[in-house]
């Protein structure tokens, strides 16, 4: 705990110091030419813009209710004066021209006061140079202006997750019954790994409330973190387990008699020494109450009732 004490003076001093320094914000909007001028050269873009939510005049503060194209791309007068020279005087949402922070800043200039975006600064996406336009298209009329449907959209960057989702034991993500954003706060938040809860267990309990307990006989690693035994995105092993039973259980439970005994190919249905600690569901053939039990005596303590 003492190691965190250094943060205590750092925060107020930082705030105080930065509070007296001048702000870096700039503003001003002159040279608006109007969207008809833009349309003259950029007909395709203009038509796709018309399909988007941005083109709805009824939405307070929408580009359509302000300066249309120039709400996002900036005043076009200089660009027009230079006969439409690429990049002159206007803002282009291209990774080759504008960096991620500049692009996001453009979007946030209108969307910052949206309650779903108040934690954008905390997001790993922001610090990894992901900008709004990586996922959203400012033109066209897709749902939430997304460039693709989940999970394909997320898998473009999170390639290793794609492989997990394809495994035999998985949450119904590829079936479309669960979306990445059901668990993750893509716009940032206080949870670990951008999950929507303060802890992993809180997130899992939101669908698996029966695991919340509290139980008389709990199983500490389970109570501390579901991800001790389970992996969220997919596994080769039943129940999204990180490895196969009995080895998974034995890596912690190595006592005398059966918890520490070696179970091999010979203890399966087809072996010469069948054991109900190995065939079928191995440990789970007897110890099903591994998330907790309220059974009496050793029946509860060993999670068999």
């Amino acid at each position: 705990m003492r190691r965190f004490l250094f943060f205590l003076p750092v925060l107020p001093i930082s705030m105080l110091l930065w509070g007296v320094l001048p702000s870096g914000e700039v503003g001003g909007s002159e040279g608006i030419v109007g969207s008809e001028i833009c349309k003259g050269c950029h007909e395709d873009h203009y038509q796709s813009y018309l399909k988007s939510t941005h083109a709805k005049k009824g939405i307070p503060g929408s580009p359509a209710s302000k300066d249309a194209c120039e709400s996002c791309h900036g005043p076009g007068a200089a660009h027009v004066e230079k006969s439409g020279e690429r990049g002159v005087g206007i803002f282009i949402f291209s990774k080759r021209i504008a960096d991620a922070k500049s692009k996001s800043a453009k979007c946030l200039s209108c969307h910052e006061e949206n309650r779903d975006l108040s934690s954008w600064d905390l997001s790993k996406h922001k610090s990894s140079d992901v900008s709004c336009d990586n996922c959203h298209t400012v033109h066209s009329g897709t749902r939430k202006n997304l460039k693709a449907a989940q999970p394909d959209l997320c898998n473009i960057c999170h390639r290793s997750i794609r492989m997990q989702q394809n495994k035999t034991s998985h949450h119904p993500i590829r079936e479309g019954k669960l979306k990445c954003t059901d668990c993750h706060d893509h716009h940032g938040g206080f949870g670990p790994r951008m999950v929507k809860s303060k802890t992993f267990n809180d997130l899992c309990y939101s669908c698996h409330a029966e695991k919340r307990g509290p139980y008389m006989w709990d199983h500490p690693p389970v109570d501390e973190n579901c991800l001790t035994c389970h992996t969220a995105h997919g596994s080769n092993h039943a129940k999204l387990l990180v490895s196969k039973i009995p080895e998974l259980c034995q890596s912690c439970h190595d006592w005398t008699q059966h918890p520490g005994s070696i179970y091999t190919n010979q203890n399966t249905f087809q072996g010469n020494a069948r054991s109900n600690r190995m065939f079928a569901r191995a440990c789970l053939n007897c110890h099903s109450a591994i998330h907790g039990s309220n059974a009496p005596s050793a029946r509860g303590k060993t999670h068999v009732r």
Partner: protein, 711 residues
């Protein structure tokens, strides 16, 4: 609850229409009717694990309405199927929005499972003649399957900007039958697989209110969640015990619980592109459970405190268990981007789960047990800094320190984690972004030696065990990725990840874990005539662990002792080789008229468990060698699928799709091959099983035809 929510939905939709000013009304939508024919050999449950493909018709629908500032959306998918969903939303831009959803998710495990029990699906499993017949052909058949339904509704108000107010409710139900296992007698008895009823309801309500106006945002939310299990116990006649009337055994099902969380969040913008964010939350979860005062034990004398033969009575300090967790979460984050080439973050997080559950003393004959409620707290602090460097490089580094303290866990009450991150990105050319990252975790676990009562106390072995979730650990992670986009219509990506974890203090338990993964994917639009896409993923996983087998009453706990035939070490090295690929093409045969989609996906996993007896000069048990004990089919499987789809767009209002999909699943695992419902009726080789997960293989063809009308 559902009817009330529907009523709200109706009221709001009527408000939308009634209040809308006389402005142009826009209505659009589409309706799709799909005819499906399924031809399947094998396990339908695995094929339809989370879906509902079958012969017949289904449909999808979308409807959008707009008038002035008002809008309404309705979406329905898989209408009439077990995986159907409906979403109805709407509102007034900038003022309020509502959203009502109904979603069903099936979860099928095994169809046509078998059990000698009667009353499957209920909380009392019985059978007639004892012992139950081993002729499983005469047993009852049933399906292991769950059906989850989620109904939710919410309204977000922004009428009094910058203030907002949100309210949402949801009800989730989960019903069906799920496999549980119990030991007939313990230890050393048969295993019995029980079809357990699942009948859960979870009700949630969330209220949130706040203020957002630059530079400040504040919000407070309250979440209440109630879990109801319609059945508190599963009673079953235990075939492993003497056939007396007192042999109705009991498995305790999850207890009802109530949970709430109160959360305050705030952000304050500071000069120099800085922001301070804070989050303070408290919560509580409670449960209550009536504890049993006896259990089936097969004793011959009537237990003194309950007067029943075949049961053992226990004395409890309290016969009602009251469970209670209290949680506290605090998060403080300062982010800053004071200069265009510099950004940083400082943070502190604190999580505590205090377990205030009852400690119950159980006296069971000569044994006394006391439960030890488990709780923990985590403090974590750290910082991150990033620099834009010349030549389009970006370098970031991060460090965090965490302490985890546990109560109610004797072996490792405390961990200290040091986590270091460094990442370098380069975007110096127009056609590529490259990233390289390294992370090191150094965890120091404070091990607490067990209090032992003598040389034969089994707790002596704890001295050598380190449980991997908390054990001292050094983990290195390397990541490299390249994203190429040389021309507008071509994207190509490559990623590699390597993770190696070593547990330096672990003698018995998981010693090493390695994971290697490569991913490649690409997407190419070819002369606007075709889109080609594909991916390839490869992963290699390895776990190495050392274990020790010991007889009861031993004193030979030290793994360094010379092996004997009954007290010896053994090792297992588990590996998984996984790869998958997908290839596809959209061929625009007649642009905007005829499109043909061809796609194939393949996934393969090969597992292996390399087991070794470390017996020295002692012989292996009869019939075993260090090679015939290895397991080569260790959750092996292959999934192959093909899809061919022809899309005909007649005009902007009408399109048709006809297609064929094929999927084959082949599973091969030593624990299930040669499956027996009754491999024996006594001892540790005995079991009464039900066929859960026994044979998930299938081969399926799906033929489909659909028509979509747009308006």
């Amino acid at each position: 609850m559902k009817s009330r929510a529907l009523l709200f939905a109706l009221i709001f939709s009527l408000m939308t229409i009634a209040e809308a000013p006389a402005e142009e009304m826009k209505i659009s939508g589409e309706a799709t009717v799909t005819a499906q024919h399924l031809n399947i050999n094998g396990e339908k449950a695995k094929f339809n694990e989370y879906r509902d493909y079958r012969d017949g018709f289904t449909g999808d629908a979308e409807f959008q309405y707009e008038r002035g500032n008002y809008y309404m959306d309705f979406t329905a998918t898989n209408i009439g199927r077990k995986d159907q969903s409906y979403d109805f939303s709407g509102g007034k831009w900038g003022s309020f929005k509502y959203d009502f959803k109904y979603d069903q998710i099936p979860h099928n495990f095994t169809y046509d499972a078998k059990s000698f029990y009667n009353g499957i699906g209920g909380a009392n499993l019985t059978y007639g003649t004892h012992p139950p017949t081993t002729n499983f052909g005469t047993w009852n058949t049933f399906d292991y399957s769950l059906e989850r339904s989620n109904f939710s509704g919410g309204i977000k108000f922004d009428l009094l900007k910058p203030f907002f107010f949100d309210v949402s409710v949801s009800q989730m139900t989960n019903k069906g039958v799920y496999p549980l296992g119990v030991a007939g007698t313990t230890p050393g008895g048969i295993a019995i697989e029980l079809p357990s009823p699942i009948e859960y309801t979870t009700n949630n309500m969330k209220l949130a209110a706040g203020y957002i106006k630059n530079p400040l945002s504040l919000s407070v939310s309250y979440l209440y969640s109630q879990f109801i299990d319609q059945k508190s116990n599963l009673n079953f006649r235990n075939p492993a015990t003497a056939n007396t009337a007192a042999t109705t055994d009991t498995y305790t099902l999850p207890p009802n619980n109530d949970s709430y969380k109160l959360d305050f969040q705030g952000t304050l913008k500071l000069p120099l592109n800085s922001k301070f964010s804070a989050d303070l939350a408290i919560g509580q979860t409670t449960s209550s459970f009536n504890l049993a005062n006896s259990y089936v034990s097969n004793v011959t004398a009537a237990a003194s405190n309950i007067g029943q033969q075949g049961r053992s009575g226990v004395l409890l300090s309290d016969y009602v268990f009251n469970g209670k967790f209290e949680t506290q979460n605090y998060n403080f984050v300062l982010t800053s981007n004071p200069l265009h080439y510099l950004d940083g973050k400082l943070f502190y997080k604190y999580n505590q789960r205090k377990n205030k559950s009852d400690e119950i003393t159980t006296v069971d004959g000569a044994n006394t047990f006391i439960n030890a409620p488990f709780g923990y707290k985590t403090s974590k602090g750290g910082g991150q800094i990033g620099f834009k460097l010349p030549a389009s490089f970006y370098l970031s580094g991060a460090y965090s320190y965490a302490e985890i303290e546990r109560e109610g866990r004797e072996d490792i009450p405390k961990d200290k984690d040091n986590l270091y991150d460094i990442e370098l990105r380069w975007s110096g050319v127009d056609f590529m972004v490259a990233k390289a990252a390294y992370q090191r975790l150094h965890r120091v676990a404070e091990f607490e030696s067990p209090a032992v009562t003598g040389r034969t106390d089994v707790k002596n072995i704890e001295t050598y065990i380190r449980r991997y979730d908390a054990a001292s650990k050094d983990q290195d992670t390397y990541k490299v990725s390249f994203d190429f986009f040389p021309i507008e219509d071509l994207n190509f990506s490559l990623g590699y990840k390597y993770v190696y974890a070593n547990y330096p203090d672990t003698i018995l338990g998981l010693n090493e874990a390695t994971r290697n993964g490569v991913s490649v994917d690409g997407d190419y639009f070819f002369l606007k005539q075709a889109r080609l896409f594909g991916y390839f993923d490869y992963e290699y996983v390895k776990y190495k662990q050392l274990q020790r087998q010991l007889p009861s009453g031993t004193t030979a706990f030290n793994p360094d002792l010379p092996p004997t035939s009954t007290a010896f070490n053994w090792t297992v090295c588990q590996t998984e080789k996984n790869y998958s690929y997908g290839l596809g093409a959209d061929l625009f045969i007649l642009p905007k008229k005829w499109t043909l989609r061809l796609q194939t996906n393949y996934y393969q996993s090969d597992g292996f468990a390399d087991l070794s007896y470390l017996l020295g000069t002692n012989p292996l048990p009869a019939g075993r060698t260090n090679s015939n004990i290895d397991i080569s089919n260790w959750d092996d499987y292959r999934i192959t699928n093909y899809v061919i789809k022809a899309i005909y767009t007649m005009d902007k209002n009408l399109s048709f799709v006809a297609g064929w999909a094929y999927e084959k699943y082949v599973y091969n695992d030593a624990q299930l091959n040669g499956y027996l419902y009754v491999p024996g009726t006594t001892g540790t080789g005995g079991a009464y099983l039900t066929g859960a997960y026994a044979d998930p293989n299938y081969r399926a063809n799906v033929y489909f035809l659909n028509a979509t009308m747009r308006f």
